[in-house]
């Protein structure tokens, strides 16, 4: 059941996006998300949607898998659509009902926001689909390395992220095991009021905490044994090198951004 969750949701394939430098991917995802909010009308938004669709096609990630990433935000999508339709006023009134009115502006807003959120989710999940957690954290470490100058230990943060990612499946497994063990002793986790059920979780969380600390302790030993002394003097097996591919991606994204700005100027804003 819970172990079905694949964390980091990496989708193994050998596409252009998979091979691209994680630093570039991180930067571009960030840039694209910013420009998603720069869009002021449907024309500029169309550019972003086009880029996203293109990226999806070239990512080698099946459409079904991408759709799965939208599911968690479905509630938010429905909620914002309703709010936008009924509470934004302006333009032609199509429909009126008691205090609510459906207007042109409302519908425009609703459609715009929905497209924007979906694009946002697809873009960011494309990043996690095409980049392994390790690459992602190393990429982040490299990108943030200038922060070392102001004495922020970027390596330590990246190491913590890697370890957290590494131990999520292990801890999920452990939780399942403890739950089963407590159930075998007659613990009732499914019935009763909310408070009763919350209380029933205590005998699961206490052993989980204790064992996590023990794990942490052992892990620290194991890391010391493998001569880990922090970020200093460390090398990396996988070197990151920018290739022509990365520059092409960068150029394409910059062209898209320029397009967004131009279209913003030439057409009326709708939002």
């Amino acid at each position: 059941m819970i172990s079905d969750i694949t964390f980091g949701q990496y989708y193994p394939a050998k596409s252009v996006l998979h091979k691209a430098d994680p630093r570039i991917k991180l930067l571009l995802t960030f840039l694209m998300i910013v420009f998603l909010f720069v869009c002021k009308n449907f024309f500029s938004l169309a550019v972003m949607v086009f880029v996203t669709v293109l990226a999806t096609v070239f990512s080698g990630v099946p459409f079904k898998v991408i759709l799965k990433s939208i599911r968690p935000v479905l509630v938010i999508l429905i909620f914002t659509t309703f709010l936008n339709i009924f509470y934004t006023k302006g333009g032609t009134v199509y429909f009126e009902f008691w205090k609510f009115s459906v207007t042109e502006k409302g519908i425009n807003n609703a459609v715009f926001t929905v497209i924007r959120i979906i694009t946002l989710v697809v873009l960011s999940s494309l990043l996690t689909y095409t980049t392994t957690p390790t690459d992602l954290t190393t990429g982040l470490e490299r990108l943030l390395s200038p922060l070392n100058l102001i004495h922020i230990k970027v390596h330590t943060l990246a190491m913590m992220m890697t370890l957290a990612l590494r131990f999520i499946p292990t801890l999920i497994e452990e939780t399942e095991r403890i739950m089963n063990a407590q159930k075998a002793r007659g613990a009732d986790l499914e019935t009763g009021s909310l408070i009763q059920r919350a209380k029933a979780l205590i005998p699961i969380f206490v052993p989980l905490m204790v064992s996590s600390f023990r794990r942490a302790y052992e892990l620290a030993f194991a890391m010391t044994c493998r001569c880990y002394t922090g970020g200093e003097g460390r090398t990396r097996m996988k070197q990151m090198k920018l290739s022509a591919r990365d520059f092409v991606l960068l150029a394409l994204c910059l062209i898209a951004c320029a397009g967004v700005i131009v279209l913003n100027i030439f057409f009326e804003p709708v939002i």
Partner: protein, 281 residues
Amino acid sequence: MQEKLIEVKNLTYVYESDDPETKPVTALRDINLDIYKGEFVAVLGHNGCGKSTLAKLCNAIYEPTEGSVTVKGIPSGTEEDGDRIRRIVGMVFQNPDNQIVATIVEDDVAFGPENLGVEPKEIRRRVDEALKSVNMYDLREREPHKLSGGQKQRVAIAGVIAMQTECIIFDEPTAMLDPSGRREVMQAIQRLNKEMGITIVLITHFMDEAVKADRVVVMDKGSIITEATPKEVFSQVDLLRSHGLDVPQSTELCHDLGLGEGVTSTEECVDKICALLGGAK
């Protein structure tokens, strides 16, 4: 055998507790032990006899309370020396889950050499070689949590091999594995010793594993009871039993039948019984 790799002299280790209520526990009492280069030593004893503590002292995770541990002439004591010692003596722990650091097998194997500051190309070479030597090369891009216990433990072993330490201490590496995982790991350990000439210290409470060593050290209550070849050690069935230890099944059978002492392999046992029955195999 020639060169001493690890030299333990009059070693005593006491676990001090932060809590003044609990008494300090003496885990090791006046231990003397030499590990020679290229040797395969098994340390035998049941839970709480101090064998894991001894292991942690041998690669300078703990510092001796009294006495000394010297690895290749480097005395353990300061943090800097500890680092130098750990480049010579690697360690594999009992629980494979708690010693794998990365989310991908090959990245984990690379963790050690990366810490040592090895050149990227050389790391790649070492990682591939280490993974091949434990038969895990085909699974190098897998996620560790999707592997079996034996496979995870072999990844952990590859992680130490890639550091190219001269000695590897195994702290009950098979205790949490199923029989097939245990076989895989034992085969890997023996291969390391025979083919790559790595000094092995195997801490275990499985008699069948200890039999495969060149030398067996038996411990109880923080002291060494006896140390000799497996044959000699397992000849002393009564001594081992008085310390609550078992002997390998074939040894026990021959002992109880009065067919002689120090029988350590199944074949030998079969021969003896056949001889007793007066028939051919």
